[in-house]
């Protein structure tokens, strides 16, 4: 019996000592929102604050809302993303083309093409995809101050 216990402990010890142990996770899943509207594109910062976009009626205006209910920004957009909520990016139509806007820098794309899927990190680097002669490419934009 004792050798068996020792062997089990050894296996457990190996498992706990293994670098791969850090990869073994279980998750506690909780529902954050429950009100009767659509919530899109959530994001979470390192402090655990969660934001998301909410569609506003048939025109799909959206804004980013923190869990505390504070509206960070509002724009004619259906896509928004943020990192640590220092800066938001979204798309909106300008002259028939989808352009990327930033809550800190205003309009950041201007070329006559659709710019889609914006995302931003806390360093102010923005990425997005741009339709260019029937293909998409993504691009980093300049850093924020």
């Amino acid at each position: 019996m004792l050798p068996r216990i020792i062997s089990i402990l050894a296996i457990l010890g190996l498992a706990l000592a293994s670098p791969a142990n850090a990869q073994l996770r279980t998750y506690q899943v909780t529902q954050i929102t429950s009100d009767q509207t659509n919530h899109f594109n959530p994001n979470i910062n390192d402090l655990g604050r969660v934001g998301w976009c909410v569609a506003q009626g048939s025109i799909y205006q959206s804004f980013f809302t923190l869990t505390e209910g504070l509206k960070l920004a509002r724009a004619s957009c259906i896509v928004a993303a943020g990192s640590n909520f220092k800066e938001m990016v979204w798309i909106q139509n300008v002259g028939g083309y989808s352009q990327i806007f930033s809550s800190r820098r205003g309009q950041v794309t201007r070329s006559p093409a659709d710019h889609l899927d914006p995302a931003v990190n806390s360093q102010g680097e923005i990425v997005g995809s741009s339709r260019w002669v029937a293909r998409l490419r993504f691009f980093p934009l300049s850093r924020a101050r």
Binding site: L24, Q28, T30, D35, P42, Q123, E125, V127, F139
Partner: protein, 115 residues
């Protein structure tokens, strides 16, 4: 940044500057990293990737007939019958996504527990 003649879409960027995106490989959407190359290989579509500073990438792929959140490190995060969209994670590995509950899309959060 990318110029090869295939579509690259839905990029995301970590604070470390690592970019993940989706591009087709043999007509299937696969996730790529600017630092690590192709991250997904299974014969299915992988969409809406995100990555945190430690380098954990997440995306959605179809498992059991619905779109589930999958981590490159931890495997499937969700396994319920609903479709799950736009996962994002912070540097602690806490994830959020939206999924439909009744008529509306709601936000969910998954907090990891190491064992």
């Amino acid at each position: 940044m990318t110029k090869d003649p295939v579509d690259h879409y839905t990029p995301a960027i970590s604070n470390q500057g690592e970019i993940v995106w989706v591009q087709p490989v043999d007509y299937l959407s696969q996730v790529f990293s600017s630092r690590r190359g192709q991250l997904t290989f299974s014969a299915k579509d992988h969409l809406q990737p995100s990555v945190n500073d430690p380098g954990e990438a997440v995306w959605i792929e179809k498992l059991g007939g619905s779109w589930q959140v999958v981590s490159a490190i931890n495997g499937p995060i969700t396994m319920d019958p609903a479709d799950h969209f736009t996962p994002r994670l912070n540097n602690l590995g806490v994830l959020v996504w939206s999924q439909k509950v009744g008529k509306y899309f709601q936000v969910f959060k998954a907090t990891p527990h190491l064992w």
